[in-house]
């Protein structure tokens, strides 16, 4: 630590340059992390928010709500099974709504989710009333609709249909399939989704999926007890959202590359620096420095440098978040920020191991008998 800090202080410019590169990388990593998290939220917040452990789909639907149609009548039967604590049906549709109560008639794309009022799938309203059975006109909507001019009491008309709905409450942070969620009763949803004759494939009371509570559910065993269904974890159901894997995969790939790049940039920089200082290390070894001492010097130097850079990167990221447009899918999850920051510091520090290896091979004889 002694030599590490003294050198950082003395050769400020040199370390500032590499520090700036590390800051930029950390900044980019954290912005991507926020973007990834934002997109994930936009894509699947509603499912993520659901307090469920497993999801029942139609067989061969590959864990996708849009490909799955099963009967609501399964709910009561599944509830009877071992380890199933609760079960609730859900259906989802993407559509376009028009605000009848406003004169400008701005159209908005939304996801309509049908649930049973009062089931564990219904989110808490932050404003207004919750859903009630027997009042099929009433819906609760994500508060992002407020920005489009919608308010409590507005009547929505679904484009290309005669169905109408009235907003009675707002929920927050509920998006599905990149669109703001509107929650309605299951009956109403069925009326919207299966308006065309025959579109329900002859299934009585069709729903897209059934959410299950119960941590100890044996999904495979349970699937076998019923015909034509498959049961997956909630995480897998989120993966099954349209575009989710592709979006997430792209961002994870970029993050991965950045982490490797940062390790290489720091690793190579310190390796070159070590080669340049071979003579100095030779002298230190001649006067009695052990490999351990020199290794600690290098590792602590890289660690300090990457730590400081990452902390500055975090600050810059939060400043960036302030100036990004509000409707951009960017959300910083403190847990993820901390995770990626730690990962970045660890990986960068690992990059210094090449230099450590180099130093252990330096011969203290370098110190003797060289005429300059």
């Amino acid at each position: 630590m002694f030599l590490a800090i003294k050198e950082l202080k003395h050769s400020k410019l040199r370390f500032l340059l590499i520090g700036v590169i590390t800051i930029l990388i950390a900044w980019l990593v954290l912005i991507l992390c926020g973007l990834g998290n934002g997109l994930t939220t936009l894509s699947a917040a509603t499912i993520k928010n659901m307090d469920a452990d497993y999801v029942v789909f139609e067989e061969e639907s590959r864990a996708s709500m849009s490909r799955s149609v099963i009967s609501e009548s399964l709910v009561d039967e599944i509830k009877q099974q071992a380890n199933v604590e609760d079960a609730a049906p859900v259906g989802a549709t993407s559509t376009t709504v028009i605000n009848e109560s406003s004169t400008d008639g701005k159209k908005v794309d939304v996801s309509i989710l049908g649930i049973i009022p009062g089931s564990f799938l219904e989110p808490q309203v932050v404003e207004g009333d919750s859903l009630k059975e027997g009042k099929p006109l009433e819906v609760i909507a994500n508060d992002s609709l407020k920005k489009e001019g919608y308010k409590i009491g507005d009547t929505l008309e679904i484009e290309g249909s005669l169905e109408k709905m009235k907003i009675v409450g707002f929920v927050t942070n509920e998006t599905y399939n990149h669109l703001p969620s509107i929650f309605t009763t299951l009956d109403k949803w069925q009326a919207i989704q299966f308006a065309a004759p025959g579109s329900d494939k002859g299934i009585e009371k069709p729903v897209n999926a059934i959410m299950l509570q119960g941590e100890n559910i044996d999904a495979e065993q349970l699937s076998k007890q019923f015909d034509n269904i498959e049961i997956v974890t909630k995480a897998k159901a989120i993966q099954g959202m349209p575009g989710f894997k592709e979006e997430n995969g792209t961002i994870m790939m970029m993050l991965g590359f950045l982490l490797v790049i940062s390790a290489f940039v720091l690793g190579v920089f310190f390796y070159v620096l070590t080669l340049q200082k071979s003579n100095q290390f030779g002298i230190l070894k001649a006067i009695g420095a052990s490999n351990r001492f020199l290794a600690k010097t290098i590792v602590s130097q890289v660690f300090l440098l990457s730590l400081i850079s990452v902390v500055i990167g975090i600050l810059l990221t939060y400043l960036t978040a302030l100036i990004l447009p509000e409707d951009m899918p960017f959300s910083l999850d403190i847990k993820l920020v901390v995770l990626y920051s730690i990962l970045l510091v660890i990986i960068s520090t690992l990059g210094s191991l090449a230099s450590v290896r180099r130093v252990t091979k330096i011969d203290p004889l370098l110190a003797i008998g060289r005429v300059e």
Binding site: F2, L3, K6, E7, K9, H10, S11, N279, Q280, I283, L284, K285, A286, I287, G288, A289, S290, F293, P364, L365, A367, I368, G369, R370, V371, E372
Partner: protein, 229 residues
């Protein structure tokens, strides 16, 4: 009391098919309080001799005994410790660490050993004052003259209170006036602290401060009678 003994030490380098005899049957004893010089042209084996004395290089044959310990029987890892505690090096270009100030150059020796106490700091300041660097404690090597750098290096060599000082061409980059000063200081510190010291040099002007002068030629070491009569 003998601090350093060479008993028939040879060093052979393999260069392709040829064997280069860098040292041949070198024997020598350095007593406590003695300042000896080894002179000779370049390529005569002076550096090899100093490297072996400094536990940086293993001899091919023969024994080196430092403070009663045979270096051949010490593990490489413990040799580092031996260098840290028993040997003080003065290198030819002073070879200071560029990012440490004069005081830290000395204290790093203690840091290598794990700890740095108040007494160490006092000792370092005292050493530097003796060598006329009392005003330069916070200066970095680039702000010092060649002579001042070499004096810092001398102070560093004495910092770990070693048994023996090994100086490798300590006057190589200095003009005569500075060179005299530096050698005089090495001699003075060696005497007052009652250490043994070996100076390897090709500069014959510096020998008046030495107790004995050896001449190295083609790997063989001989006492130079002309200086020692």
């Amino acid at each position: 009391m003998a601090i350093l003994e060479f008993n028939n030490v040879s060093k052979i380098y393999q260069q392709g098919e040829n064997e280069v005899h860098a040292l041949q049957d070198v024997s020598l004893t350095v007593e406590q309080g003695e300042f000896i010089a080894v002179i000779g042209p370049s390529g005569s084996g002076k550096s090899t001799f100093l490297s072996i004395a400094g536990a940086l290089l293993h001899p091919t044959k023969g024994d080196v005994i430092l403070n009663g310990k045979n270096l051949n029987s010490i593990k490489p890892k413990d040799l580092i410790n031996l260098r840290l505690h028993e040997i003080g090096f003065i290198f030819q270009t002073s070879n200071l660490i560029p990012y440490l100030n004069v005081l830290d150059q000395l204290l790093v020796v203690k840091r290598l050993d794990g700890k740095e106490t108040k007494e160490d700091k006092q000792f370092a300041v005292q050493l530097l004052q003796e060598l006329g660097l009392g005003e330069k404690l916070k200066k970095f090597p680039e702000q010092l003259s060649g002579g001042e750098r070499q004096r810092t290096a001398i102070a560093r060599a004495f910092m770990n209170d070693p048994s023996i000082i090994l100086a490798d061409e300590p006057t190589a980059s200095l003009d005569s006036k500075r060179a005299f000063e530096v050698v005089q200081l090495i001699a003075k510190e060696t005497k007052t602290r009652n250490k043994a010291a070996i100076m390897v040099t090709h500069d014959e002007r510096m020998l008046e401060f030495c107790d004995k002068v050896y001449r190295m030629e083609d790997g063989r070491l001989k006492l130079d009678e002309s200086f020692n009569s």
